[in-house]
Symmetry: C2
Subunit: 478 residues, 2 copies
């Protein structure tokens, strides 16, 4: 997949990397929507691809040519038929690169991970990819000859544009098939990894893995971890820094080529308590050098909210590193660009120093009585409970309040806590109206890129019914 991020555009084509967790039905939908002509498939996903192509042919759609990628150990020269390695061998080393005619021509098509709706095809241009790639290596301080560990999927915004960025700096790419904390620590030590990237869940996995699976960094080894995709929780940040990692918190969407803002560390934060530092680091920060503008605006009036750290608005972007639009979906494109800015669907605030902070997804925020409750803020408190591995808070329907916060919690292995304890812990740290009224324990549903699937949890909370018992608003805890 890494090689194809170069070979496909250099052949004048557009690369569309598919999520490795899709099933055949989804793959067939995306093959059809993307009008793919060739599909390169790693040997472990061959059945899914073949099933997808069968589905396509049943619907009378033109099927792409399937090119299997054999196992690296296989001697592919003896395999029958066309495969990736045999195809490469037929190549002309003097092939003239097909440069784009216009730098705004597409280089990639990325389907969004679809936490809510059907995936949308985000169109990247050569210009945008170049600028975001350069910006990402700059703010994450990826210097010459980095050693990069791929803990973010390359099918996710072309690896946050770092597929190209690592090559630009002459880096070594360390890839993973076995995605466990143990393997991650092993690779970091073995290859002298300097940079990696991952959703907060990856950091969480590393911070909470058994001691036996951990390996300390080598003397003088500094690993910079870019994290984003969800707001990292302060306890996880603290733990990572403790283990010697330098965490850089970035924020962006598939629509912004991956990272668009960075929580640039300020020297004056050195004086803060560890706790305060982690809070500061949880901010989404300021635009990076390739982002023309980020703002927090009232989505109705399009006016910027005051920089008071309190007034919420929608986070919006503008510039070269914002997608061209959604492929074959003019309606969705017009909606997301309504008012001349790209609307993220994230609710946030602007602090006095210009740093932005995301408080919630527009559709996740809980409206309880007259109050807006940021589920991210409630989660950050639940996370601080020592028994909690991961937590997600959603609104639970309530006949009196409209909605009340409901916490879904996954405990650490061997740890124990009951609902009462979690609620008490929150009550000591949050205003009453923000305290979860119910707590549910169990494993949390996530997308393949590590994003919490809150719509699944909202369904569960809905199925639980209203907590409201009588007119006095008395609450029962489960």
């Amino acid at each position: 997949m890494y090689e194809l991020n170069f070979g496909v555009p250099m052949a004048g084509a557009v690369i569309c990397t598919l999520n490795a967790h899709h099933d055949a039905a989804m793959v067939s939908v995306l093959l059809k929507h993307s009008e793919a002509k060739l599909i390169f498939v790693d040997h472990q996903f061959l059945t899914i691809a073949e099933d997808a192509i069968n589905l396509l042919s049943q619907s009378n759609s033109k099927s792409p040519l399937l090119i299997p990628i054999p196992e690296p150990s296989e001697d592919s020269s003896h395999s029958p038929g066309l495969n990736y390695e045999s195809l490469i061998k037929t190549g002309d080393p003097c092939f003239d690169i097909k440069w784009p005619i216009d730098e705004c021509d597409p280089i990639a098509l990325n389907y969004t991970s679809g936490t809510t709706s059907r995936p949308k095809g985000v169109v990247y241009t050569h210009r945008g990819a170049y600028l975001n790639c350069i910006s990402s290596i700059l703010f994450s301080e990826i210097r010459t000859l980095p050693v990069y560990l791929w803990t973010v999927p390359i099918f996710h915004s072309n690896g946050w544009c770092l597929t190209w960025g690592i090559a630009a700096q002459g880096g070594l790419n360390v890839c993973l098939r076995d995605f466990t904390a143990k393997t991650i620590f092993e690779k970091i030590t073995r290859y002298g990894v300097t940079h990696m990237t991952g959703a907060p869940t990856v950091l969480n996995m590393m911070a909470n893995c058994p001691l036996a699976d951990r390996q300390p960094l080598a003397a003088g080894q500094m690993v910079c971890v870019m994290t984003g995709g969800a707001t990292p929780q302060p306890p996880v940040l603290e733990k990572m820094e403790e283990m010697g990692f330098k965490v850089v918190h970035v924020y962006g969407l598939t629509e912004t080529y991956g990272p668009a803002t960075v929580c640039e560390w300020k020297p004056e934060w050195d004086e803060l308590s560890v706790d305060q530092q982690a809070k500061m680091m949880g901010r989404q920060g300021i635009r990076h050098i390739g982002t023309e503008a980020v703002d927090v605006k009232d989505p109705e009036t399009m006016k910027s909210v005051p920089a008071d750290g309190k007034t919420m608005g929608e986070v919006m972007f503008r510039g070269n590193t914002v997608m061209n639009g959604y492929f074959k979906d003019l309606k969705a494109t017009e909606e997301v660009f309504a008012g001349g800015w790209m609307r993220t669907g994230d609710l946030g605030v602007r602090h006095a120093d210009g740093y932005i902070q995301v408080k919630d997804r527009l559709k996740d925020i809980i409206i309880s009585g007259l109050e807006n409750i940021s589920t991210i803020e409630v989660e950050s408190v639940v996370y601080r409970h020592p028994a909690v591995l991961e937590a997600a808070v959603v609104g639970r329907p309530d006949e009196y309040w409209g909605e009340t916060p409901c916490a879904f919690v996954q405990l650490k292995d061997g740890a124990s806590a009951d609902a009462e304890e979690i609620i008490g812990f929150c009550r000591a740290r949050l205003p009453d109206f923000m305290v979860p009224k119910s707590v549910v324990f169990g494993e949390l549903p996530k997308t393949s890129t590590g994003k919490m699937q809150k719509f699944v949890l909202r369904e569960r909370a809905k199925a639980m019914g209203s907590l409201f018992m009588n007119g006095g608003g008395k609450m029962l805890e489960i």
Copy 2:
């Protein structure tokens, strides 16, 4: 001058910084040619500017408005009339930045330092400046919050585009009025300088300054020095590395926004001898990420020379970080772009690994008999003589050979050597035809940006007459 690199373009105007060493006559020529509307003048150059404006008005040309920049210590609020500080005070803090309408609109006009002919006005675009600025901070590894010492003049290619680059990374600018090795070392220690830039003559000054004027770097302090403008000599590179500086050798011209190639260090060079390493570092290297293409071509046929490290051709550039053209000089623009590439006037070779190396200026190379002699190669040997501070080699007319190498040498303070010794030193290290046949001692003439004024030396060599005495080609050494 640093502030004006931002304020002028943000006001929608074009900045043209003039060389601080020009006299009133040259300044008046450039004010007229550039059609300047305002001239900001540091207090120490007021007389020159006033004289230049007088000259302008005598020639019936429209004079720009002169705005003096008072001494920082002066309380300018009491000074009569308009000055820089009082002008700034009238500014509107809510002024809307005047963005360029097109990114290819000009941002700066830079007059070349003019080693040979009348200065030419090189036009920079916003697009090119952005790309070269980003590239420069990347390859010189200028990370977040650098401390930058201005040892390269800001009037030289807008400080190699680092005026903007240092701001992009949130850096601290340390400026110098007193340009001595002693002050340079003092500022490095005092401000914890992380990066600086300078012509090889600056490095030479630092490497050869009295021990009493030197200050060792602080423990853990790493200073990265970008050097370019002339080929740095191996002994100087060795000495700088010895003192703990990391030297990055870059190559470019005013026409390429400053640096266009960089001699990127290769890990396998770590195994070479110090001497060999310095030789490798003397190469001009490979294009940086903002340069579309660099090539070494036969200037007649426009064919690339073979990558054999021997065949010479003219170094040529193409891409976004090449100037728009010379202001109001279509003829010179057409000449320099003849064949679709920007011709540098530098002769070089391509090595097998793709690194280029400049051997000489097209006009400096010595043609002796049937041989082309690279004056840079001869100089690099002369430089290795322990008594030599600086050296420049030019062709001296010769009735038999056409030209023979003549070395102009400036000795280190207190050191001594005669012509015979220098010639003998070279004979032991160079093929006979490259050995200087004459040596002249004394101070060497340089431009304000530290470039050797070889045309002055060629005049001197010419005035010395031919060495040829009789038909046998017997040489006399002076």
